[in-house]
Symmetry: C2
Subunit: 224 residues, 2 copies
């Protein structure tokens, strides 16, 4: 049963979406702490009162953007048949995850402050990490069963923890290491590719046979 | 030729040292952004004017603490004979580094903001990372020559980059993953040991023979 939306509802939804898009863009560019609701309203040629009608405060905007981020990264890696293709599936999956992080990079810029200020975001962020942990362990178990990986269960857990640390903080590291002062906003697509390569480099030494050779070939492009 | 210090110089130095120690403690506990020079002066039963006589502003305090951090982590790994002992030397070295990060953890809490606000700190921080990069590559080259490690030069560079990412952001990750809301101030010694273990887990799959077996024994304590 489809609900028929009237003109008002559609306008309201459109305005909310515009506010969220503008907020995301400004948060990513300047850092969330340096953006006020007034700046967002001004950029949209909107009165502060109109913005408040849609979002009571900045925290509500942050929570809405976080919900969108949650949905965006809630992707499961494809359950593959194992072997060389599994390596490509994993690489693609990492790329999708890093793109999600990139699109919502303001969340990662001062992650410690953000999750310390907002307990609910902290819990939700940790649920995402928990699910990624399980997905990565399952992926490795699959590679072991397919004889594409040789690793003990304890090694897989330590590896997975390192995968999560590198994936979570890669953009921060890139931003720190960039030759000129830069914020996360200046990272680019190439940094994402380099990030996926660095995560694959964690997995590489555990791969064997065709899977290892296939990864070495895929990695050529990134080797410095 | 020793310079004889008079009573005034000694008192001045002592006051500076007390201000720095109190600042470090408060920065680590609350985050540097949430501490004012007024709070530091109050905790030391000192007038704000007296504090300003020693440090013009908070940034000067941060720079002095950074200089102390720089000196603290400017340790070179022992050039070892290779073999199983080399693994213990590396582990010890990592522990020393992580302890340095731990003692000055306020620098790492909002690293992105800190180095974005202060170009000089950014450059000095990157010089530290550069030196650690070189030290780690040299260490791996030594292990390869001693036949304790099997790795190509490109693998060593990718490995070293991951070592730096995990070592730099390990405390942030631990703080994020702690069961209760916590700041970096609440991490403890056990987290440092876990951090050293996670970094060694990056190196482990490249070790061979006795070195690998020795690392596996040392790791037993940390395996979950």
């Amino acid at each position: 049963m489809a609900v028929k939306a009237d003109g008002n509802t559609i306008r309201t939804e459109r305005t909310r979406a515009r506010i969220l898009a503008e907020s995301l863009s400004q948060f990513n560019q300047r850092g969330e702490a340096h953006v006020t609701t007034g700046m967002i309203a001004a950029a949209l040629d909107m009165s502060p009162g109109n913005l408040y009608y849609h979002f009571r405060n900045k925290d509500q905007i942050v929570e809405q953007l976080f919900a969108a981020f949650e949905e965006r990264v809630d992707v499961r890696p494809r359950a593959s048949a194992g072997g060389p293709e599994a390596v490509e599936d994993l690489w693609l999956y990492l790329h999708l995850m890093l793109e999600g992080i990139w699109d919502y990079r303001f969340l990662y810029r001062n992650l410690d402050d953000l999750v310390w200020r907002n307990r609910r975001l902290r819990e939700r962020f940790n649920r995402i990490v928990d699910r990624k942990f399980e997905a990565m362990v399952a992926l490795c178990d699959g590679l072991v069963r397919a004889r594409a990986m040789r690793a003990q269960p304890a090694e897989i857990r330590a590896l997975t923890r390192n995968v999560l640390v590198v994936a979570t903080y890669w953009l921060n590291y890139q931003s720190l290491r960039a030759p000129h002062a830069t914020t996360l906003s200046r990272a680019d697509d190439n940094d994402l590719g380099q990030g996926a390569f660095q995560v694959m480099a964690l997995v590489a030494p555990y791969l064997v046979g065709d899977a290892r050779r296939h990864l070495d070939r895929l990695s050529q492009h990134y080797i410095d």
